[in-house]
């Protein structure tokens, strides 16, 4: 895709590579050969990505129009939109879709608020700043399966878990977090994992603040809080937006944490879309329906993510390359 050469013009309107140096020699207009030489290095990666990531989706669309259960090998037949009707009338699917939204937005929002607070705390020179930063990013690095396993067992265990030990004075007793509050438990693990990412992003934003503006505001007699509200926060806005969008993109695909901590249970109380589709495909062997759910998920994601991403990356390349 997008390598077709329709116009012979070399004036490529391209916001991301905007500082188009005028001294760049103008290549022969309409020279097809030159065009192919230029994009030659790009093609292997592009073709590989299209084959591995795009072809499966075409198959998914095809499968979604089939009634096909792997348990009955000869059962495959065309059913049109029947799978989609089933998906949209499936109350479990609606509950799981809602779970997906709640888990994703809840984790992203809390992680962003905490990440912002921690970043502000770390954005000053103090003894051991590097060590504290290193400690803080560790939850993000640790294999998510290992992290989830730790939360499921040594942290959230009703009797021997660390969480109930710490919350004991507040009357936690022997609360079984995993089975009584499965979604809360998952959000806790996800927030623990993703706060460091938000912190790093905000720290990068704080570091890129123009120092002269801060100085000027202080010389004008603005208090610390006023400087934060009037100068720092507007500057951080696009970093916060980027963090929310990226966090949502990564977190909406959460699978390992749910798989390890709750298996989507009890019932489907803590299942999100990826886990539910996985259950339908690999435990229910229902290829047609899980494909239809996949298509619905993809369409919903594309609508939300493309708009948000384009906007935010445009604002970044505009701000940085002026």
């Amino acid at each position: 895709m997008s390598t077709s050469e329709k116009s012979g013009s070399t004036a490529v309107a391209d916001p991301a590579t905007k500082p188009a140096k005028p001294e760049r020699p103008a290549v022969g207009p309409g020279s097809r050969r030159d065009g192919w030489i230029r994009r030659g290095p790009l093609l292997p990666a592009l073709i590989f990505t299209i084959i591995v990531t795009q072809l499966p989706f075409l198959f998914t669309i095809y499968y979604s129009t089939q009634s096909w259960n792997l348990v009955n090998p000869g059962s495959q037949r065309f059913v049109g939109f029947e799978n989609y009707v089933t998906v949209f009338t499936d109350s479990q699917f609606r509950g799981v879709a809602l779970n997906s939204i709640v888990l994703t937005l809840g984790s992203v929002f809390i992680a962003m608020v905490l990440g912002l607070a921690v970043a502000l705390l770390l954005n000053r020179t103090f003894p051991g700043r590097g060590v504290v930063r290193t400690l803080l990013i560790t939850p993000f690095l640790i294999t998510p399966v290992a992290g989830a396993l730790i939360w499921q067992t040594v942290m959230f265990d009703p009797t021997y878990g660390l969480v109930n030990f710490v919350l004991g004075p507040f009357g936690a007793g022997t609360t079984d977090w995993i089975s009584s509050f499965p979604r809360t438990a998952i959000v806790v693990a996800l927030v623990w994992q993703w706060t460091p990412f938000m912190m790093l992003l905000i720290l990068a934003g704080l570091g890129s603040q123009p120092q002269e503006v801060l100085e000027a505001a202080r010389v004008d007699g603005a208090t610390g809080f006023a400087v934060f509200r009037e100068v720092t926060l507007p500057h951080l806005r696009r970093f916060i937006e980027l963090g929310i969008v990226l966090g949502a993109i990564y977190l909406v695909n959460t699978f390992d944490t749910i798989y390890m901590m709750t298996q989507g249970g009890p019932g489907t109380a803590s299942a999100n879309l990826p886990f539910y589709i996985y259950q339908r495909a690999f435990l229910g062997f229902d290829i047609g329906q899980s494909a239809a759910m996949g298509v619905v998920t993809v369409i919903a994601t594309i609508i939300v993510a493309t708009l948000a991403l384009r906007l935010i990356f445009r604002s970044f390349s505009a701000a940085e390359e002026v």
Partner: protein, 289 residues
């Protein structure tokens, strides 16, 4: 400047030169340390528990002081984690090499060469990261099964390469854009061939970025679980799949579980500590430096 120094207590959010004894500052320092240790504590507890006997791992209140033992690590390695570690290592290293081999030329074309419709291609790459992989798993499973590549570590190599390629392209591109154009022009004035100027001018500048890109791809590949658990079994399973065995176990197993989790997580934690300054750049597709 004196006015600034007088107000430092309020300006906790800015890096400013501050007076030596500053109670507010000290409090914030202590708070920062508490937060850091708090976030790290589950990891610390995991490592600590890994050195316990199972008896010491099951106490209420939890035991902080005990005689450390390597029994659990011996059990983990004796219990057969090694093939999983080797599979993880192979899938991680091979996919990262492939990502760099495919991604570096692509990033070069999308930065210094200004291919037509660069923006569209870049957004195509990023859009593949937005598509929920779960929607592709069914056809991938069917195809992989059809060509007889289930439970084959090369299947993971191919999928991890595709998974990390968009990150690498965006990240490498942001490094290529930092190469001063004048340097390249000077080299071509001197009659250096494109290949030579790439090797002798561009490569030294981008190689730290390339290393960082590689490290970040390694973290993602090592941690990947979804493809591994669905497409592998006894032969090609990776370390995260090995950990699944612990959620079904009954009885006293906290300490051995922690030892296994420690062994599984240690490589990426170390890699991540090394690459921490480039972590944001990688995860934000090069948008944030």
């Amino acid at each position: 400047m004196t006015a600034v120094a007088e107000r430092t207590r309020d300006e906790s959010s800015e890096v400013v030169p501050r007076k030596k004894s500053n109670i507010g500052g000290s409090l914030l320092t202590v708070l920062a340390w508490i937060v850091g240790i708090g976030f790290f504590f589950p990891v610390f507890w995991m490592v600590l528990t890994a050195f316990k006997q199972e008896r010491a791992a099951y106490t209420d209140p939890p035991t902080l002081f005990f005689t450390p033992t390597l029994d659990q690590f011996a059990a983990v390695f004796g219990g057969g984690i090694t093939p999983y570690l080797l599979n993880s290592l192979f899938a991680t290293v091979m996919s990262t090499v492939l990502v760099l081999l495919l991604g570096t030329p692509a990033a070069f074309a999308l930065s210094l060469r200004q291919v037509k419709r660069t923006q569209d291609v870049l957004f195509f790459f990023i859009s593949t990261k937005m598509l929920p992989i779960v929607a592709a798993i069914v056809p991938i499973y069917v195809v992989v099964n059809f060509i007889g590549a289930l439970d084959n570590v090369w299947t993971l190599v191919v999928l991890y390469t595709a998974m990390n390629l968009p990150i690498a392209v965006w990240m490498m591109r942001s490094f290529f854009l930092e190469v001063p154009k004048e340097l390249l022009e000077a080299a071509s004035m001197d009659g250096a061939s494109l290949w030579r100027s790439l090797r002798e001018v561009v490569l030294p500048i981008i190689s730290p970025g390339m290393a960082a890109t590689g490290l970040i791809c390694m973290i993602f590949a090592w941690n990947e679980f979804f493809f591994a658990v669905n497409l592998t079994a006894a032969q090609a399973a990776t370390v995260p799949v090995y950990l699944v065995g612990f959620i079904t176990s009954e009885g006293l197993y906290f300490a051995s579980l922690c030892a296994a989790a420690t062994v599984a997580a240690l490589p990426v934690v170390i890699i991540g500590w090394i690459a921490q300054n480039k972590l944001v750049q990688g995860l934000s597709f090069g948008a944030v430096k």
